[in-house]
Amino acid sequence: MSLTLVGVLGILLLLLAMFFLGMPVGFAMGLVGFCGFWYVVSFKAAVSMVGNDVWATFSKYGLTVVPLFIFLGYLAFNSGIAERLYNAAYRWFGHWRGGLAVATIGADELFAAICGSNTATAATMGTVALPQMKKYGYHTMLSSGTVVTGGTLGTVMPPSVVLIIIGLQTKQSIIKLFLGGILPAILLGLLFVLTIVILCRVHPHYGPAGPRSTWTERFKALAGTLEAVAIFLLVIGGLYLGWFTPTEAGAVGVFFTLCFTVPFGRLGWKGLVDSVRDTLKISAMVFFLVTGAIIFGRFLAVTRLPFMVAEFAAGLPVSPYVILAMVLMIYLVGGCFVDSLGFLVLTIPIFFPLGMALGFDPVWYAIILTMITTMGAITPPVGVNIYVVKALAPEIELSTIFKSVSFFLLACVVCIVILIAFPGIVLIIPGMAG
């Protein structure tokens, strides 16, 4: 049997284990990678590889940034910092038609800037914003989609666990990726706002205008966001100015969030314990996802499949953009069935070398891949954010959420097309940093 065929069979086996056994994505990658390596090389070699790679990945300094940023996000949520951000956005925009939805997107942008995970962003805003929108008579056709999709900003706007993982897997500067995500995240947010405005124009009852806040209320609410702004400036500013490494920025962010909240009774013992437990849970999941991808990647390397795919596609007599469109389609379809982060980690060993062979800028390509995989988090039937929101508001029908989300998906597509047409939107800020 040719090695390429073994590689293809390995991928099929992986899909089989994931779909028919419901095996967690990271474990399936590790197990199939192990069996494949066993088949191609030897049992002794395969088992030694598993041991070495689990230890080497878990003890990697580069990955320590993951738990710290996840912890930062949970602390912000459990201590009410996120709620105050929403309140400020609401005071400023609530009196417009659809204003609460716009406020949710605005708060998402702000919260996304301190939180690294899109699920956490969706969960946070779902908890905070859904009851508010219900109170003011917003239709679930608008509110559910807003909350589900707004969470995707969390992955594109730095800091972002997805960008950290891409940076680690492709050996790129995490800071450059972070900087590259800022403008696309703002653009995406604007397109979401546009979607809301159009929806409310067509169906005015989706988002009735709320009461107008006084200027005093507005500025008082704005003052409540000071901690969030301070943490953001410290974390991202310190990173940008070279005061801290990403890991240090995460630790400093956590430290100051604790200083702002614990002494003032904003974060009790329960909030702290919940934050630690949820952080460890997500971190363990991410760590093994990365480990599984490394083990599976070693198997693919000995079959030489990724090199063949990259060579083949790069040699096709079509424009690189046609191949890019094909890759994006694969992500879009794949993202419908597999969790976005898992799918990304799984496919980077094949599609990243391909993008480089096609001559794309690595930062730009990473941001495009992030965008398209994040869409996976909101595409039915498998989209984490959808289920997070469904869990928070069980009374909303899944079909309603799906329909509501589809409006916003259109905005995501438009955003990606704009970024392909104008790569400068991604590259200008990292370029300025040199």
Partner: protein
């Protein structure tokens, strides 16, 4: 069976508690290093210790995460099968994962022993680091235990208790 399940839950809760302390340790160590760098000299060995602390924190959380179904899985196809088929598939899954992590625990343990025997030390502090390697082995073993419980449950329990 009930005893085994209780034990697995207890073991993984204890490990999670220890993991929490290592997470706190990571934050303290990093902040202390920044502080010392500002006022005097950086703490030697922060880089390597952070990696090892991170390893313990995440490896000790592996089993608890599985108990709470925190490892992302795709159950879209599985959900369409009958309860009986589902139970059988869950059993196969648990068996494979149990074996895989038992193997991983064994290999990492052997690796730790090898580090011990060859006398390898860390690059900066020149201290032995095999205890951290052992901890990762223990984390994998605890995860394997969780799957053993899942395997037994799929045999012994009637009906479909999966959420």
């Amino acid at each position: 069976m009930a005893f085994l399940e209780k034990m697995s839950l207890w073991v993984n809760r204890v490990l999670l508690g220890i993991a929490g302390f290592f997470l706190a340790g990571m934050i303290l160590l990093t902040c202390a290093n920044i502080f010392m760098r500002l006022v005097w000299l950086p703490l030697r060995g922060t880089f390597e210790l952070m990696g090892y602390f991170g390893a313990v924190a995440t490896a000790f959380a592996l089993g608890y995460t599985q108990i709470r179904k925190g490892h992302i899985a795709v159950d879209i196809v599985v959900q369409r099968f009958s309860a009986g088929t589902r139970r059988a598939l869950r059993g196969v899954n648990a068996l494979l994962c149990m074996a895989f992590f038992a193997l991983a625990a064994w290999r990492i343990g052997a690796y730790a022993m090898n580090l011990h025997e060859t006398g390898e030390v860390t690059e900066t502090l020149r201290i032995v680091y095999y205890p951290f390697t052992w901890a990762v082995s223990v984390g994998c073993a605890a995860l394997s235990l969780v799957f053993l419980v899942e395997l037994l449950k799929s045999f012994l329990e009637k009906g479909d208790s999966e959420p």
